[in-house]
């Protein structure tokens, strides 16, 4: 099987594009920005509450509302924001200072409790990928550790804020030439996703796209992925 074009590269290299029939639209056109819930003209504040139902997630928006409207108009172009996005966005809650001070944790478990939002999230990904000849969906374990998978594995080390961690995949789980997606709930710096992509590319898999529910803006995750396409549903800052 061909694998010459799929050797591991640093994130700055250019990847040959997939055949046109399978080519996805550039993610920047399909990136769906979430309006801040209940925005009323003023810059939305972050609130937090343990009560799932009465405190919808307010994604902190660092741009003024007029800027947001402008961005939204640019995004609409020939793409309307999918009406399901607002419900998905508001189903995600933010927990401040978890797992440590200063981190605003995007908690998707509340979205899993909202059967409509959960279904809509899955549907949005399924609709995008169903006719793209994807044979592998690779899911990332959050803060994953080595030594969890039984049997033979390959490992990829990646940087954390302090130190490194290791991600593993079963030998033989995928075959060279397969077309894959990498899924995670959230992309921040992109370190985890990059490690996942490299694991797959090392065995000759074509990573067609990375897909996340949430993108944390300002952490350069998209840059770290280089030319590898990234599709997200919701932005947060």
């Amino acid at each position: 099987m061909m694998r010459g074009s799929l050797l591991p590269r640093c994130s700055n290299s250019i990847f040959p594009p997939p055949p046109n029939s399978n080519r996805l639209q550039p993610p920047s056109l399909k990136r769906l920005s979430a309006p801040t819930a209940a925005s009323s003209g003023a810059q939305s504040r972050l609130t937090f509450s343990q009560n799932y139902r009465t405190a919808p997630n307010r994604l902190r928006c660092s741009v003024s509302e007029s800027q947001w409207k402008q961005d939204r108009e640019m995004a609409t172009g020939d793409e309307q924001q999918d009406p399901r996005i607002a419900g998905i966005s508001s189903a995600i809650r933010v927990i401040p200072n978890f797992p440590k001070p200063g981190i605003m944790f995007q908690d998707i478990t509340t979205m899993l409790l909202d059967t409509k939002a959960f279904k809509d999230t899955i549907d949005l990904f399924v609709e995008r990928y169903r006719d793209k000849n994807i044979s592998v969906v690779a899911g990332v374990e959050a803060r994953g550790k080595p030594n969890k998978l039984p049997g033979e594995v390959i490992s990829e080390e990646y940087s954390l804020e302090y130190g490194t961690d290791k991600m593993e995949m079963h030998v033989g789980a995928v075959e060279a030439g397969e077309r894959a997606l990498v899924i995670d709930d959230l992309i921040a710096t992109g370190g985890t996703l990059c490690a996942a992509v490299k694991l797959l590319e090392r065995v000759g898999v074509n990573v067609v796209e990375c897909a996340c529910v949430i993108e944390l803006l300002g952490l350069k995750g998209r840059e770290r992925l280089g030319d590898r396409p990234l599709f997200v549903l919701v932005n947060a800052t």
């Binding site: 343990q50 478990t109 039984p150």
Partner: protein
């Protein structure tokens, strides 16, 4: 308890499911024959059949909560939840869930471990099922049941892909093993 006893005897899907599971000897430590369901996840038909069998069973039972035990319960639970229109509640190891949680300790072979669930994830009176890939002693499942009952949910059933017959466990309530009789037979021969 086992699928065969629940009227699924002869269900043609069970054999494929059983054969898709591989056994890894001496993992995570010597003497343990590890039932690896990741190979089942690579077999699209077997994976789908597994989920379908659970969905067929639970879809008309008014289940509003599917609680999945970390981590391999997460690989089956959400698909079942989506198909039957229930919410998915992850039951996690300590300090993984952000925000307010309730905890339940349970016994390991040596020492104890702990399972946590979000406060407010489940409402009183909701009907729930618990999903895990495998049941051995039943310790983890019992902790999961206690978490849900402390939130005043009704645990209708526990569902697992694999039940280890040769391990006798103390279970607080009767649990339903979706077991693979073919799988157990193979296990004994190796």
């Amino acid at each position: 308890m086992f699928a065969a006893e629940n009227g699924l005897k002869g269900d043609p899907r069970l054999q494929g499911i059983s054969e898709a599971i591989r056994v890894v000897p001496h993992f995570p430590k010597p003497g343990i024959m590890f039932q690896d369901i990741t190979t089942l996840l690579l077999d699209h038909k077997a994976f789908k059949d597994t989920v379908d069998i659970f969905v067929d069973r639970y879809r008309d039972m008014d289940i509003s909560v599917v609680a999945g035990v970390e981590a391999r319960g997460f690989m089956f639970g959400p698909a079942i939840a989506l198909a039957i229109g229930a919410k998915f509640v992850p039951l996690r190891k300590p300090r993984k869930l952000p925000g307010k949680v309730i905890s339940e300790a349970y016994e390991l072979e040596y020492g104890t471990d702990c399972l946590e669930m979000h406060v407010g994830a489940v409402k009183p009176g909701e009907r729930a099922i618990v999903i895990d890939d495998l049941v051995a002693t039943g310790g983890t499942l019992s902790a999961a049941i206690r978490l849900l009952e402390r939130s005043e949910a009704e645990v209708v059933e526990c569902a697992c892909v694999i039940g280890l017959r040769e391990v006798k466990g103390q279970l607080r309530i009767a649990v339903n093993y979706r077991s693979l009789s073919m799988k157990m037979l193979r296990h004994r021969l190796t």
